[in-house]
């Protein structure tokens, strides 16, 4: 036995050295810097690395451990980390998720810090700031904003007899009718994202409350929402909008380029896509405009993401420094250049690349008129049902009345637990939703 052992060491000593090196290599390096864990999702994760390097240069005593997670896995990762007590210090968080994580009491309230830190809160777009106020606490700091505007072909508009996009629903309908008739002659006037966002936006524009008081009931049978629903369905009935995204419109950008589609409602990512895909000859023949509303310029969604600090972080000071850094105007500008995500601070829009870009004027104007979605944990589930019933009514399987009645009934069921918690006094009385 002993001989065999000695033989092993003699002949295979390099194996043992290799093993030893691998094992020791697994030991971390302690370098005395404070370590922050920062979770980023999606495309932003790849681009933010450069900003993090700049942050580490400015704060040599801090090190940021950047972890990239795809959006599809992000929600589950966060929830699993919560259950396992493994939450990071700072994370990016989509606005629509803030309510759910606020409900779990894992987000640190930043109100006192903001007050003391002398941060110019009026510089942030109000709509997106409101999205971060949940049940009386400031749950995150807005990082980038996302909203929906109309992208349009300027030449087709002119052919239809309009110099600028109209600002009322009625004028807009008239324009769309003209767009499918000669001389503009598009096959479809408008394309809508095949989800719940368009219908909800129309509802918000018409001041529909969507949900009852404190978000305790569904209120989709409200007359204001009904009017928005009728407007939405009329667009499909008049064949101004294609019914199914896949059959009738190969690729939105392709049809837009061919002049078969004159308008579409989308978000900031389409700016980059159009600049990449359209031929040079068409590059100056498109523009953006804010959404028309029932009686004048309308509101749009306050989407985007915020930066949140989790309660129980062992580095609260460092986390705040990171969050403050990423929302600084110069860093916001650099972030825009890297990702195309729109900055949340008004002052940044006055700086050169954004100030001179005429094609994103639609976003600039719309951001002054954005509204957040109801900040309740059940919102995602409710939105999925809105989409279902909108789809059913679009295809004529349900009458608008039936669709809204059934939607209200389902939403009431979904909100059952919330109602019970409200009556048990779990939420602050002054809270908006």
């Amino acid at each position: 036995m002993r001989d065999r052992f000695i033989d092993l060491i003699r002949l295979r000593w390099w194996l043992l050295v290799l093993l030893g090196w691998l094992i020791l290599g697994g030991c971390g390096r302690e370098d005395g810097r404070e370590r922050l864990v920062f979770w980023v999702f999606g495309r932003e994760g790849e681009q933010v690395r450069l900003l993090i390097e700049a942050f580490e240069l400015e704060h040599p005593d801090l090190r940021v451990d950047l972890q990239q997670i795809p959006w599809s896995a992000a929600y589950e990762r966060l929830l699993t980390a919560y259950v396992g007590g493994q939450l990071p210090d700072v994370a990016q968080m989509g606005n629509s998720w803030l309510a759910q994580f606020a409900e779990l009491h894992v987000l640190e309230d930043l109100s006192t810090w903001i007050r003391e830190a002398d941060l110019d809160t009026t510089d942030f777009f109000e709509g997106v700031w409101m999205a971060n106020r949940i049940d009386g606490c400031l749950c995150g700091l807005p990082w980038y904003v996302d909203t929906r505007v109309i992208f349009y072909r300027t030449d087709l508009l002119r052919r239809a007899g309009y110099e600028r996009m109209p600002t009322t629903w009625m004028e807009w309908s008239r324009l769309m009718q003209r767009l499918v008739d000669p001389p503009a002659g598009a096959r479809y006037a408008l394309w809508l994202l095949p989800d719940w966002s368009s219908l909800v936006i129309f509802g918000m524009q018409n001041d529909a409350p969507l949900l009852g008081v404190r978000g305790a009931y569904g209120n989709f049978r409200d007359e204001r929402f009904r009017r928005a629903f009728r407007f939405y369905l009329d667009l499909f009935d008049a064949r101004l909008v294609p019914l199914s995204g896949t059959t009738q419109l190969g690729s939105v950008y392709q049809e837009f380029a061919r002049g078969q589609l004159a308008l579409f409602i989308s978000g900031p990512w389409s700016v980059g896509e159009l600049r990449d895909r359209l031929p040079d000859s068409l590059q100056n023949r498109w523009a953006t405009a804010p959404l028309p509303g029932p009686d004048g310029p309308g509101v749009s969604l306050a989407g985007g993401a915020s930066l949140v600090i989790f309660r129980g972080t062992r580095h609260p000071e460092a986390a705040r420094k990171l969050v403050r850094f990423l929302t600084r105007p110069d860093v916001q500008l650099r972030f825009y250049e890297l990702t195309g995500d729109l900055p949340v601070r008004r002052s940044v829009w006055q700086l050169p690349p954004l100030r001179d870009d005429r094609q994103i004027d639609g976003f600039r104007e719309q951001l002054a008129r954005i509204r957040p979605l109801p900040a309740i944990p059940e919102w995602e589930a409710i939105a999925a049902r809105i989409q279902y019933y909108a789809e059913a009514a679009k295809r004529g399987l349900l009458s608008p009345e039936e669709a809204l009645t059934m939607l209200d009934r389902e939403v009431d069921l979904l909100l059952d637990k919330r109602r019970r918690r409200i009556s048990a006094g779990k939420y602050r009385p002054a809270a908006h939703y």
Partner: protein, 297 residues
């Protein structure tokens, strides 16, 4: 030598089976029991935040389930999958096995590998290719229809065609498994039976009906059971291809369970759904196993 208790054989059996049984107990029976208990509560997102608000609601979740239109829709879609998918899978694999069993077929091993390949291919890769095939404008199927002068069909976007399209893809992907089982079973049918039948003047079809089918009956039932069990739990195909749409046309039980349990975190409700699925599958299995046991006599 008998002791006061179990015979030595039983005790030996106990020791040998012990490790396997304890693993099954720990990783299957106990979690299943816990899931059943979970289905008797109203566990959801709020419970994560405030565990003390958890209530035992008894069979309330099951009541809600039976009143939920989406549950019945998912059940109908799943049974459609089991029925159509099961029959197509069995028919296709049995037919191919019979064909490959013929003496004149060459490259039998190669063909068997080719037909089995879809079973071991990743579903996501399969889904990407089939999405292209089903594409409303540029897909192979619609190009073919246009060549024949017919109207293109929105295979995945039309509520009437979405489910059959998924069934077709699932059958293509899964029939290789049953094919292998049938080929092995066909080899086991003694050649003398066929000779005897031929001497008696039986033609091809009669040979099939009176020799092959009776010999294969237990295998068909067993394979049918395995296939049906698999289709009862169909999740990956609708999840990857259509997300349950359009208009819940491809919503299946497990997809509904996943949505309720892991997207909206209504774990109590999802557990109840899982148990209903379990009971249904148990019933079907009992029926098929009984039929199989009779056929073996």
């Amino acid at each position: 030598m008998k002791g006061g208790g179990l015979s030595i054989e039983l005790r030996a059996a106990g020791w040998f089976l012990g490790p396997a049984l304890s693993v099954i107990l720990m990783f299957q029976l106990i979690p299943a029991g816990a899931a059943f208990l979970l289905s008797l509560t109203d566990f959801d997102l709020y419970t994560f935040a405030a565990p003390d608000t958890l209530r035992i609601v008894g069979l309330h979740n099951y009541q809600l389930l039976l009143q939920d239109g989406r549950f019945w829709l998912a059940l109908r879609n799943t049974l459609y999958f089991v029925g159509l998918g099961g029959i197509l899978t069995l028919g296709l694999s049995l037919g191919t096995a019979l064909w490959l069993n013929q003496r004149f077929v060459r490259f039998r091993a190669l063909l068997r590998t080719v037909y089995f390949a879809p079973v071991v291919t990743t579903l996501v890769a399969v889904a990407i290719v089939w999405r292209y095939i089903y594409h409303a404008r540029y897909g192979l199927l619609n190009q073919g229809l246009q060549l024949l002068g017919l109207e293109p069909v929105d295979w995945l976007g039309d509520p009437r065609w979405a489910l059959p399209s998924l069934v077709l893809m699932a059958v293509w992907k899964n029939y290789g498994y049953s094919l292998l089982i049938f080929m092995a079973a066909l080899q086991a049918v003694p050649e003398e039976l066929y000779d005897a039948a031929r001497i008696d003047g039986a033609g091809c079809w009669q040979q099939f009906r009176h020799v092959t089918l009776p010999a294969l009956r237990p295998v068909i039932l067993l394979t049918g059971l395995i296939t049906a069990n698999g289709y009862f739990q169909v999740f990956a195909e609708p999840y990857v291809m259509t997300g349950g749409g359009p208009l819940d046309a491809t919503l299946t039980m497990v997809l509904l369970l996943y949505e309720q349990g892991f997207r909206w975190w209504r774990l109590g409700y999802a557990a109840a759904l899982a148990f209903v699925l379990f009971v249904l599958m148990l019933l079907l299995s009992v029926v098929l196993l009984r039929l199989q046991r009779e056929s073996q006599r």
